[in-house]
């Protein structure tokens, strides 16, 4: 086994009846890196993750976690991985401390109880029954249970769903610490900010296929920087200049007409210079002028839109 590769997926296909949730995807996750699976609801993120966790058998293709088949060799793989399900049940009648205690019994070489409860940020709630926790608190307990055995590979299915911003930042810090300690993390999310902040590499899934993958920089490159402004009433659309070869897209938003450009070839600075020079010469005021580099959000929305128009 190549020790620099923690996870290898080749030609994975997963079906539910006639519905193909994952339609042949391949990727690798290197040891010690955080890999994010992005996608809209129903894109196949959770199905992919559950195949990696060994929760279901693979219909077609190969999945290897730490060099083993996570479903058939569950016994060998499970002690070395941590799983935070998107929706996993708790025993509502147990307290936080009792839940951790019982789970310590199911985990080889677990963290101490107090350490785990503190990791979840629930030290004050240790004696409270799980049914009384908020959704965000349950997610944090979930994360602490997944980290109980100091796993070599950690799977997080939408780890910050339902958390307030403060809890989200705390969770991000915990996840960063886990990665810094050398663990490999695969997480799914539909918060783009989460992927942008945490991921070493990511893949965008749409309808069971990987549409694009790489580092955030790789993925965003080629999607074009954006310039937009409100079109003054006296300027006709045909009079607008082309910027680096790109024509303006006109949208009407809340009664305002907005002209926007997606600049690829010459870059943002040259495009903006062309626009400002034109505005100066024509004496056109550019209200609401915005110029920004391409973001993951642009890529994500474009990917989703391409899928629906196809």
């Amino acid at each position: 086994m190549d020790t620099s590769t923690a996870i290898r997926v080749e030609g994975l296909r997963q079906r539910y009846g006639d519905f193909e949730a994952v339609a042949g995807i391949s990727f690798e996750v290197r040891t010690g890196e955080l890999f994010a699976l992005l996608g809209t609801n129903g894109a196949g993120k959770t199905t992919t993750l559950e195949a990696l966790e060994g929760h279901r058998a693979v219909h077609e293709g190969t999945v290897r976690v730490l060099g083993r088949d996570p479903h058939r060799e569950r016994r060998a793989v499970r002690p070395r991985i941590g799983i935070m399900l998107q929706e996993g049940g708790f025993f509502a009648d147990l307290t936080v401390a009792e839940t951790v205690d019982h789970w310590r019994g199911f985990t080889p070489a677990p963290r101490g109880r107090d350490e785990a409860v503190a990791l979840a940020g629930l030290t004050e709630k240790a004696g409270v029954r799980v049914r009384q926790l908020s959704g965000g608190q349950k997610r944090r307990l979930d994360l602490a249970l997944a980290l109980l055995g100091r796993p070599a590979v950690l799977f997080l299915d939408e780890p910050t769903a339902g958390m307030d911003p403060e809890a989200r930042h705390t969770t991000w810090k915990i996840v960063r610490d886990v990665v810094a300690s050398g663990a490999t993390v695969v997480l799914t999310t539909h918060y783009l900010e989460e992927a942008e902040r945490l991921a070493d590499r990511l893949a965008i899934l749409h309808r069971g296929r990987i549409k694009t993958s790489g580092t955030v920089g790789d993925v965003v490159a080629g999607y074009g920087d954006r310039i937009s402004f409100q079109l003054p009433g006296r300027v006709r659309v045909a009079e607008l200049p082309a910027l680096g070869g790109a024509r303006a897209d006109i949208t009407v938003d809340g009664g305002r007409t907005v002209a926007s450009y997606t600049v690829t070839g010459t870059g943002l600075q040259a495009g903006l210079y062309d626009l400002l020079r034109w505005a100066e010469e024509e004496r056109v005021p550019l209200d609401g002028l915005q110029a920004r580099s391409a973001s993951l959000e642009d890529v994500f929305l474009r990917t989703a839109a391409e899928g629906t128009t196809r």
């Binding site: 929760h55 049940g89 009648d93 249970l145």
Partner: protein
């Protein structure tokens, strides 16, 4: 390192005991299931009192029914208990979470079977004590035969429980799924009256219900009399007792195989529409 990991035993007793500890904590927290597990047997044991001194086929009615209950308690302690626990845990996704730990499938199921067996053993011992102390019963003539019959019963009803949990959509409906078996066992296994009181053909069919072999074996072992030949109950020695129970063990083995096959086919770890 790879070899060491592969050769891990599939089931460790200490892991099963830790699952069992979780079961008992949860049972203690849930008073209504505590009542079902321990209250119902008390009610059934109470119903034996009026039967004391009534002759039923040559033996005391309280003892005949009491030895029937010995097997019948499997329905509460093992069958109902396991069907409810596994259906509820599947639907609230705690089973899926347990399966995400280092526990093997066999440890998760085996641990709860261990709990159920322990609780059933407490019920059975209590009943045997009540029979001996209050109802004029005796120490079992062949305790090993009694134990073998009950152990076979645990295996059969545990397997049936996993199968039935797979076809029960919710923990509430699981009670209904179990009901036909409860009634079938109550009427068709000779718990309340000797099977010989039924018409011949019906008695023969009844011998093939999952509980009737358990009842026949435990009665033969308890009384030291042949309860397979229902009309006379001649006394039997140890060897003859086992020999006369062979057909019953055969029926139990059939149910164990069938139960396992159905469990493998129907049991589910996750809700159908996850």
């Amino acid at each position: 390192m790879n070899l060491a990991a592969t050769s891990l035993p599939a089931v460790s007793l200490s892991a099963m005991l830790r699952v069992s500890r979780l079961d008992l904590t949860l049972l203690w927290r849930n008073k209504s299931s505590l009542v079902t597990v321990f209250g119902l047997p008390v009610v059934f044991a109470g119903m034996l009192v009026p039967m004391k001194g009534v002759d039923m086929g040559g033996v005391d009615g309280a003892l005949l029914q009491g030895t029937g209950h010995l097997g019948f308690f499997l329905v509460f302690g093992v069958l109902m208990n396991l069907v409810t626990v596994f259906t509820a845990r599947r639907e609230d996704l705690t089973l899926k979470r347990l399966r995400g730990t280092a526990l093997s499938d066999a440890e998760i199921t085996g641990g709860s079977v261990l709990t159920a067996t322990g609780m059933y053993a407490v019920q059975a011992l209590a009943l045997l004590t009540v029979l001996g102390v209050a109802l004029g019963g005796r120490f079992p003539a062949d305790p090993v035969l009694v134990l073998a019959g009950l152990a076979g019963g645990v295996a059969v009803f545990a397997a049936l429980a996993f199968a039935l949990s797979g076809v029960s959509p919710s923990a509430e409906l699981a009670q209904l799924t179990v009901l036909p078996i409860v009634f079938g066992c109550m009427l068709g296994a000779g718990v309340m009256f000797p099977l010989d009181d039924l018409p011949g053909w019906l008695a023969q069919i009844s011998r093939f219900t999952p509980l009737s072999p358990v009842v026949e074996i435990t009665r033969t072992g308890y009384f030291g009399q042949d309860f397979h030949d229902h009309s006379a109950h001649p006394s039997v020695g140890v060897l003859a007792g086992w020999r006369t129970c062979l057909p019953s063990f055969g029926v139990l083995a059939l149910w164990a195989v069938l139960g396992r096959a159905l469990a493998a086919r129907w049991f589910r770890w996750e809700p159908r529409h996850a």
